[in-house]
Symmetry: C2
Subunit: 299 residues, 2 copies
Amino acid sequence: MDGSKAERQFLAAYDPRAFEPIAVTVDVVALTLRADRLHLLAVRRGGPPYHGEWALPGGFVRAGQESLDEAAARELAEETGLAASALGRVHLEQLGSYGRPDRDPRMHVVSVAYLAFAPGLPDAQAGSDAAGAAWLPLEAIARGGQPDPVAPRPFEQGRRPGAHGGGPGRRPLPAQQPPARHAPPGDIHLAFDHPEILADGLERARAKIEYTPLATAFLGETFTISELRAVYETVWGAPLHAGNFHRKVLSVPGFVESTGATDGRPGSRGGPRARLYQAGDATLLHPALLRPDREATIR
Amino acid sequence: MDGSKAERQFLAAYDPRAFEPIAVTVDVVALTLRADRLHLLAVRRGGPPYHGEWALPGGFVRAGQESLDEAAARELAEETGLAASALGRVHLEQLGSYGRPDRDPRMHVVSVAYLAFAPGLPDAQAGSDAAGAAWLPLEAIARGGQPDPVAPRPFEQGRRPGAHGGGPGRRPLPAQQPPARHAPPGDIHLAFDHPEILADGLERARAKIEYTPLATAFLGETFTISELRAVYETVWGAPLHAGNFHRKVLSVPGFVESTGATDGRPGSRGGPRARLYQAGDATLLHPALLRPDREATIR
DNA sequence: ATAATAGTGTCTATCAGACATTATCGG
DNA sequence: CCGATAATGTCTGATAGACACTATTAT
């Protein structure tokens, strides 16, 4: 029809600035578990547009210097103030790209979104870029679109004490936060199209723990089956049968491996000391742990 | 540590060309079924780099003018020479983004890859950009990486006559191609990192037809259960039990709907006339059609 | 003692897969 | 008739989920 494409490519080969540019950024939907509730890592924007509002952590990809994966890891490290060592236990995967021309008022920005699962991380985001970075409870964030039918409604589970991971030293921690009621209602609104990205990330997370062992990425090095169940219950927003879950998890080869040890910190409301497990070497769960009745065929 | 991000953002707001740019392209892994074999839409490159080699169809996203989805649909339409009407039956979804700084020798190019499932399309890519566009049988294309263990080995199925869809008028077509042996061996090598993108697209396709009805996107408006089974067998590269498949497909609500009609063109080797079905209204299959034994837990 | 939890056993409905059977068509 | 296919039926092993039960610990 025109051959203009070949021409454009030719030009691009010799003058990369010949076109109106498109900026490329990475944004990270970083999730963690705190006190049996999902939290999102968010930053306060320090300039226009959306000055002062919350947004996903992210930034520009450094042209010619880094891959998308590297850029996402870098942004996450900067924003959490975490050393690469601590990032080792964080799962990071590409979520998808968002490129509507008007999603950023300044110019056409294509954002490559990433999804991160993190164990309980220290709250302080010292130094670094993100003075205003914080873990926000998900319920405090306004839904992207319609009321999500598969949304993780906090169904008020037994409020386990150590059900969140908590890194290597996660021993006592009698309840770092007073079990304050559901926190502020969903009145925090994310900037840009980040509500949509968050919604996609949540759905991905819910699906991902069905057929991969990534739920363990929310926990510490070792964990009990109950803690693992708490991850599923929180991410899926539905209670699971303790006994069946226990048997199921142990029956899936490669999901978890027993460390001989038992939990030194038993449940605060009694019960025998649980055995401790660590993540196995499986990358896919077979058979999978399917979400409870997604109502025959969702249409 | 520096606050340079805020500064960069500030600059970007007022001078989009202040940085070394990153180009954004879309590339499409378009798959179709011809004569019971998967084919990939590929174009011959008309200029450096990789001049004369095969590559995925794609091109630059038009800054400020179109979304990523729109760009992918546009490129696919240009390359196939298809009107938007014919594209209506094509499934198009985002696959992932690829952004290693050295993946294009000219400059840092981030490519947003898309995956397309198409019914049998006319071979002629008239006019349009792509003088050199063609559907290449997958076996003719060199594997991206290691020998893919889940690769769809052509297991030599019964060579059904009409097992490929074939758009609205797919009646006679007694065997448009002589059942030529497996075509040239895998010696075609795709340019750039397109072998990797193709491999990812194939794996996505194999997984996607497990839990979505998208296998029907490879077929015409109406199809028989056998034709649908041929899609699964070809994409998965493994034979399926005809009887069990039949019963299973009909038992999944919303997968297929019976049109009263029966196939006017019976199997060339006899047998009763099969009933014709059309795609149902389900968007997810429940229960899913799982691939045959992926060997307990893939590690 | 009471309540709550860890872990195991049992039963049942469901499903995937193997196999068989009947009917229908082309050659 | 013979061979291949469509469609349905039957059987078995595996699994998910419901439920029960015992043991252990905090309060």
